[in-house]
């Protein structure tokens, strides 16, 4: 058939080459994402290698004292990990119940008019830069907690950073959970209603269990976001690496340590400079595992209807 259209013949080869070139150009755009991942892994591990020739990975992962500048130097990352988990834990206590309740409300209760007001509010909350949340935690939440609950609490503390971080990830948790709930078929709800169930019973006993995999994934992905959050904890949670589970104390997270060194005068190539790449690698691995786990939970435990 192609051979039949003689007058189109001469234009065809160049056009076909052009098409192929464009296809390859577009393919290389898509390949940039793979290269980014490769770039992250390579740059983190090459730089972290410079750190691990001086400090054993065993000391890094199990040491309980982080003191990269003050002598005697010590590079045990557990205090940074504990600080990160402490803030994340507080954030989880705030974001999980509120996010789940918001999602249930949006998906099962809210009439369309209310949804149209609430969704943009959540979108705005999700779009506010984290520096702003840091300012809010430091200048509003911390003084409030000091006035009302714990007068002895330090200015920089894990509690207010965690609470504000919880507020910050509520939109993410609620949007992902709501998506899971909206995917539960109407027929399940209608069957329950037909048996005389109330709206609360349908929400709590039908919809939430049916959407559980999506909800758990929303929690995991939200927490992974909290672990990687930087500016909020740098501003509000302090810069004293400490192995503690007391949220009233000043701590330092992994991300805040990276910022501290980036701001400081540590010479390139020194162990204390390369340490940020070791910490960054740990952070990358932790968040990657949580994200993969989140996606896996959705795939593995999703109920199909």
């Amino acid at each position: 058939m192609r051979a039949g259209t003689a007058e189109m013949g001469p234009r065809k080869p160049s056009r076909r080459i052009g098409e192929a070139v464009i296809k390859w150009l577009l393919f290389s755009c898509a390949l940039v994402s793979i290269l980014t991942t490769v770039g992250i892994v390579v740059s983190l591990s090459v730089q972290a290698w410079g750190f691990f020739v001086e400090v054993s990975p065993f000391e890094f992962l199990t040491g309980t004292r982080w003191s990269p500048i003050l002598k005697p130097r010590s590079y045990g990352a557990l205090p940074l990990v504990a600080g990160t988990l402490l803030v994340t834990g507080v954030a989880a206590l705030v974001a999980m119940p509120i996010g789940l309740a918001t999602a249930t409300f949006l998906s099962e209760y809210a009439p369309d008019r209310v949804r149209r007001v609430l969704k943009p509010i959540l979108e705005i909350l999700a779009g506010i830069p984290t520096v702003v949340y840091g300012y809010f935690a430091l200048t509003f939440v911390t003084p409030l907690i000091q006035d009302v609950l714990f007068p002895d609490m330090l200015v920089f503390n894990a509690l207010s950073a965690g609470i504000v971080m919880g507020l910050m990830i509520v939109p993410m948790v609620s949007t992902l959970s709501e998506d899971a709930m909206l995917a539960v078929p109407r027929s399940l709800r209608e069957a329950a209603y037909a048996l005389g169930a109330t709206r609360v019973e349908v929400s709590l006993r039908i919809v939430i269990p049916a959407a559980l995999s999506g909800i758990v994934a929303a929690f995991i992905i939200g927490l992974s976001r909290a672990i990687g959050e930087t500016m909020l904890v740098t501003i509000a949670a302090g810069a004293t690496p400490k192995l503690t589970f007391n949220a009233l104390e000043s701590i330092q997270t992994m991300t805040a340590y990276i910022v501290q060194v980036a701001l400081g005068e540590a010479p390139r190539g020194s162990a204390e400079f390369n340490a940020i790449f070791a910490v960054g690698s740990l952070l990358f691995v932790m968040t990657l595992c949580m994200n993969l786990l989140g996606h896996w939970v959705v795939r593995r435990w999703r109920l199909r209807y």
């Binding site: 994402s33 770039g39 992250i40 309740a101 918001t102 979108e123 109330t198």
Partner: protein, 293 residues
């Protein structure tokens, strides 16, 4: 029989009461977000209003709060946004077009897709480390706007790709089939039919990606490091600072006046962000094609 009826009625009352109680709990949870946002905005506006002035916009940073401004940060943000858009829009849209219109269903494509969704979950500070090693050191771009923009492009690429793909997917099949029936090639269909129809959605995604980039401080902090920039960048190799970094600089000073400056800077930043989001929402509602049309 009558007795059973009474029990049933009592339980029904109980279940109803429980229902209202739980409803109140749900409502309270929702209110936490709403009230939280309101309090945050009020806190920032009341803290920032006294410091909002032309001086804040046009002056250079200073040790004296009443003289301090964020002019270099503003110009730095404009530079960063311009370069970031120049890199991330063509690459992001190109990748989306490839994945939606060209990609064969094979392992490589699946890998690219999984990879993009994972990249969206990588903490921003890790992108900063990537930029600090790859662009700043190995490619010797130093702590330049260019290095910052390349890093930022990689950071927002997943957002641009995901939004563009969604929008391209929403273009009805019939549009493409009509063009193919007229003898159009793959690229002619993409250029003449798919991209024009998907443009509003792509634009929305680009704006959302850019508004993420404007507010990101952590990766820029790792890259630009020094915070006291007293000049404006004039070419892509110049050092730079951006709005959120200037705000961070002010927040982290102990004097109360600088907190006021920080709040004023935040007001500016939020005004820019909210207007960008408003434009995105407007475009989305006004122009988006729906596949059922």
């Amino acid at each position: 029989m009558v007795q059973g009826h009474a029990i049933f009625r009592r339980r029904k009352e109980l279940r109803k009461a429980l229902g209202s109680a739980v409803y109140v709990v749900f409502l309270a949870a929702v209110l936490v977000s709403v009230v939280g946002l309101l309090v945050l905005l009020v806190d920032i506006v009341t803290g920032g209003i006294p410091w909002l002035s032309l001086k804040l916009i046009l002056n250079y940073p200073s040790r004296h709060p009443e003289q301090a401004g964020l002019w270099p940060a503003l110009i730095g943000t404009l530079w960063l946004m311009g370069l970031t858009a120049a890199f991330s829009v063509p690459v992001g849209v190109g990748a989306a077009v490839y994945l939606e219109e060209y990609a064969p269903k094979n392992r490589l494509t699946a890998l690219i897709e999984i990879n993009i969704s994972n990249l969206a979950g990588v903490p921003s500070v890790v992108y900063g480390l990537l930029g600090a090693a790859l662009f700043v050191q190995w490619l010797a771009l130093d702590r330049s706007v260019l290095a910052g923009a390349l890093t930022m492009s990689l950071l927002i690429l997943p957002i641009v790709i995901l939004a563009s793909r969604e929008s391209i997917r929403a273009v009805p099949r019939t549009y493409r089939e009509a063009a193919f029936a007229l003898g159009a090639t793959d690229w002619q269909v993409v250029k003449g039919v798919v991209l024009p129809a998907a443009l509003p959605g792509i634009l929305t995604g680009v704006i959302l990606g850019m508004s993420r980039a404007i507010g990101e401080a952590a990766p820029m902090l790792v890259i630009s490091g020094l915070l006291f920039v007293t000049f404006i960048p004039t070419n892509p190799m110049d050092k730079f600072t951006v709005l959120p970094l200037q705000i961070f600089n002010w927040v982290s000073r102990p004097q109360e006046d600088f907190q006021g400056l920080a709040a004023a800077g935040i007001v500016l930043l939020l005004v820019v962000l909210l207007s960008m989001n408003a434009v995105a929402v407007f475009i989305r509602n006004r122009y988006q094609v729906r596949s059922d049309e």
